[in-house]
């Protein structure tokens, strides 16, 4: 029997000691729904933790989820690893893949560290958990083979708060070469992640983009897979498409996520990506091609476009000053007789109206 996959999805809207959020729970719910369907994690191995699951009247100090609720899930991983060690040939390994999804208030004491505030946090007692520190610890300990971390939280620079370290002990287990990590944060330090109504529901901009990508928009048009590179490219190119011009003009708001694509691997296989279905908001789910506008100098006669592998993908119509065509993601070369070739890239970016961005050449 193969090793199972696990998922922890945490969304915290209710912070009795801080300003509340509106979209964090919807983000976590959306990720949970995806990961337990397309993502292939059984519901028995997936944990959804929302602040709405706990009493609303609790004092700040007793508000939940606190670290304890998160740790409970981590303890199930430890128990699974212990059981595998005793009963199978897998060794001290809990599973194949772990998805960690966190949405809530966050902060960043240094550029390389960040924490998500728990529901019992206050300004002077900032109870927090560092998903990245835990993900790193699972990776170091070899508790899982693949760790995917998605964190939709601000990384405002709060330089007087230390992140709480993971309490699992560090142990360096063999098998480093086979382990893989992919971490994506809504913001890099010290920027703010924003939430806003998207298709009638308040969502984190990062999470909404992530879900569109995982549901198929980030898949490669040829292979159909979503690899770490495809997902990173999609997130980097498209998060800003869900932001208004006013939001884009605010230097404190994150327009692009911070993505650490540390190892090459397939995040969503081709069949799963194709079956994921559409999102309910503006970003398209399966962009096969994107518009390209080539400004022709002279007659433009005989201009040709070749793809990254030198295959001819288009020949210009004669007598036009502007050549409009549709091309898939990739690199291309425009060859015009008597001129140097021009290289261009179709990145799959969308504009702020959700429409594919036109690639201008020449």
């Amino acid at each position: 029997m193969p090793l199972p996959d696990y998922a922890l999805c945490v969304g915290i809207n209710r912070y009795p000691g801080l300003t509340p959020l509106q979209g964090a729970e919807a983000d976590a719910q959306a990720f949970y729904d995806w990961v337990t369907s397309t993502g292939g994690v059984s519901q028995a191995n997936a944990k959804l933790i929302l602040s709405a699951q706990f009493s609303a009247g609790a004092q700040v100090a007793n508000a939940k989820p606190a670290s304890q609720e998160i740790w409970d899930f981590f303890e199930t991983l430890r128990a699974a690893a212990t059981a595998n060690n005793a009963n199978t040939t897998f060794g001290l390994t809990a599973g194949r893949r772990l998805y960690l999804f966190f949405s809530g208030h966050g902060f960043s004491p240094t550029v390389d560290a960040s924490g998500v505030l728990m529901a019992n946090a206050e300004r002077d007692t900032p109870h927090n958990l560092s998903p990245k520190a835990w993900a790193d610890r699972f990776y170091e300990n070899g508790l899982l083979e693949e760790i995917l971390l998605f964190q939709d939280a601000c990384r405002e620079q709060v330089s007087d708060v230390d992140v709480t370290p993971p309490y699992f002990k560090k142990s360096v287990m063999p098998g480093w070469r086979n382990r893989k990590r992919f971490y994506a944060f809504a913001a890099k330090s010290p920027l703010l992640a924003i939430e806003k109504p998207i298709a009638g529901i308040v969502r984190g901009v990062f999470s909404a983009t992530l879900m569109a990508g995982l549901k198929g928009a980030a898949r490669h048009p040829v292979t159909g897979e979503i690899t770490e590179t495809q997902l990173k490219s999609y997130l980097m190119a498209n998060m800003s498409a869900l932001m208004s011009s006013v939001e884009l003009a605010n230097d404190d708001y994150s327009q692009r996520p911070e993505v650490l694509d540390l190892d090459p691997f397939v995040i969503v296989p081709a069949a799963s990506a194709a079956a994921a279905g559409a999102t309910s908001f503006a970003l398209p789910t399966s962009p096969a091609t994107f518009p390209v506008r080539v400004a022709m100098s002279g007659s433009g006669a005989g201009a040709k476009i070749f793809d990254g592998a030198r295959n001819l993908v288009g020949t210009s119509p004669s007598g036009v000053t502007e050549w409009n065509l549709e091309l898939p993601l990739g690199f291309f070369e425009l060859a015009v007789p008597g001129q140097d070739g021009k290289l261009f890239k179709v990145s799959g970016a969308h504009d702020s109206t959700g429409q594919p961005e036109v690639v201008h050449v020449g």
Partner: protein
């Protein structure tokens, strides 16, 4: 099957991280400082990253090809050429400061520069960029009021404050005092024959604008040598300090660059020493780096002492009394206190602030010991309480259990060696401070 061609990439930045992507956006090659390999005839994208800034270019590999990549224009607190923050007015202001040093001692120099960010809209922030900044001795005595006395130049798009102070060799502190906020400090070590150049950017902190102590730039130049905006060593140090703070893997390239500079740049040496300790602690070059640093800066320099301790140098000090400049140095000292609790002697300047270390990188900062509203110690206590609320470790079957029927007062929570190391590193506190915090939990 398409032909293979040789692709050679040469970067002007020795520590530039180079990645090659194919037309499916898959990563097909990586290198640091340069790359050489063969690939099929096709189109590729080369991305080059230095100090957090990435630039890309598409190439057509139709035959063997050499691509020369220029210096990446990253943002720097130093008005270096080939950066996005280069500024002739700021460079001129720094040069003027170098020509008219203030003397409160001799033998060493401290160049302190605070810039408003260049570019974009002209700055409208009032007052000196160095407002609230002062230079003090390690014992707290005032040395120079940078905020009030440093020359301000507002001829460019944004103002800059710059001052060169000649001092006796020793450990000094830069202190930032702002209304209604705890004072913060960092170390500036003045080494004999060297000028320590500290560049900072003025940023907004809770509606107040002030020099950002934690994220500036430090470099060392020989005493009397004026600031040089095209100094490639300073550029290298910038990239190396970014790598240290952001866990970028450029250690071997940085070490090679240091060797090519004949180990003559002490700041680069300190940074490479810590990168080696982090990534390849067994590397034989580490001892050479530490040995050269002792020759250049002396064994009294707290950052050199930290490297001597971490590298298990036979001449490693038995005590460290001053705060180092780098957070990585402090982490090395803290780690050593777990087996050598007396390393930071009680009542030493370092011990007096060691409970108030802030989580900054790459530079070490802390709340001042006499700050009336200091609360850093309480924040650390909250983290400690959170850590100790963890579930109990599963007990080992058959392990012996102790029974204790005594009526003695409850003892502090016990932590094993690994827990103590984890907490000391995360909180940035030496062993003695951790024990003190644990004892307070019971009260």
């Amino acid at each position: 099957m398409s032909a293979e061609h040789q692709l050679t990439i040469q970067s002007a930045d020795p520590t530039a991280e180079i990645t090659v992507y194919d037309a499916s956006f898959n990563r097909v090659a990586r290198g640091v400082g340069g790359y050489r390999g063969s690939h099929p005839d096709a189109l590729y994208e080369i991305r080059v990253r230095t100090a957090g800034t990435q630039e890309g270019q598409l190439i057509s590999l139709a035959g063997d090809k050499t691509v020369n990549v220029g210096p990446v224009a990253f943002a720097s607190p130093v008005p270096l050429t080939d950066t996005t923050t280069t500024d002739p007015a700021h460079e001129a202001a720094v040069l003027r400061a170098c020509e008219a040093p203030i003397s409160v001692g001799s033998g060493s120099g401290l160049l302190i520069v605070v810039r408003d960010p260049s570019g974009g809209e002209p700055s409208t922030r009032p007052g000196s960029p160095a407002t609230g900044l002062s230079l003090i001795g390690a014992d707290g005595t005032a040395v120079y009021d940078v905020g009030k006395k440093a020359a301000i130049d507002a001829s460019g798009r944004s103002p800059v404050a710059a001052i060169l102070v000649h001092v006796n060799a020793g450990v000094y502190r830069l202190r930032m005092e702002l209304p209604n906020q705890p004072s913060r400090e960092r170390s500036l070590v003045a080494s004999p024959g060297w000028t320590t150049q500290c560049f900072m950017i003025r940023r907004s902190f809770r509606e107040q604008a002030a020099a950002d102590l934690a994220h500036g730039s430090l470099s060392l130049s020989q005493l009397g040598r004026p600031f040089a905006a095209d100094d490639k060593r300073t550029r290298l140090s910038e990239a190396a300090s970014y790598a240290l703070a952001n866990n970028r893997k450029v250690t071997q390239a940085a070490a090679r660059a240091l060797m090519e500079e004949k180990f003559q740049d002490p700041m680069l040496g300190l940074l490479v020493g810590h990168l080696l300790l982090r990534d390849t602690p067994e590397a034989s070059i580490l001892g050479e780096v530490v040995g050269n640093l002792i020759k250049l800066l002396g064994s009294e320099h707290p950052d050199v002492q930290a490297l001597m301790l971490a590298a298990s140098s036979p001449d490693a000090p038995s005590s460290v009394t001053q705060m180092p400049m780098l957070r990585a140095s402090w982490d090395a000292i803290v780690a050593r206190t777990l087996t050598q609790p007396s390393l930071v002697p009680a009542q030493s300047p370092a011990a007096l602030v060691s409970a108030r270390v802030l989580p900054s990188a790459p530079w070490l900062t802390w709340e001042a010991a006499d700050a009336p509203t200091a609360r850093q110690a309480d924040a650390k206590m909250a983290v400690l309480r959170g850590f100790l609320n963890r579930p109990a470790e599963p007990s080992l079957e058959g392990a012996a259990q102790y029974r204790d029927f005594s009526f003695s007062a409850p003892s502090p929570p016990t932590l094993d060696t690994e827990d103590r190391a984890e907490l000391a590193r995360s909180l940035g506190v030496p062993s003695s401070v951790l024990d003190d915090m644990l004892s307070k939990l019971d009260k």
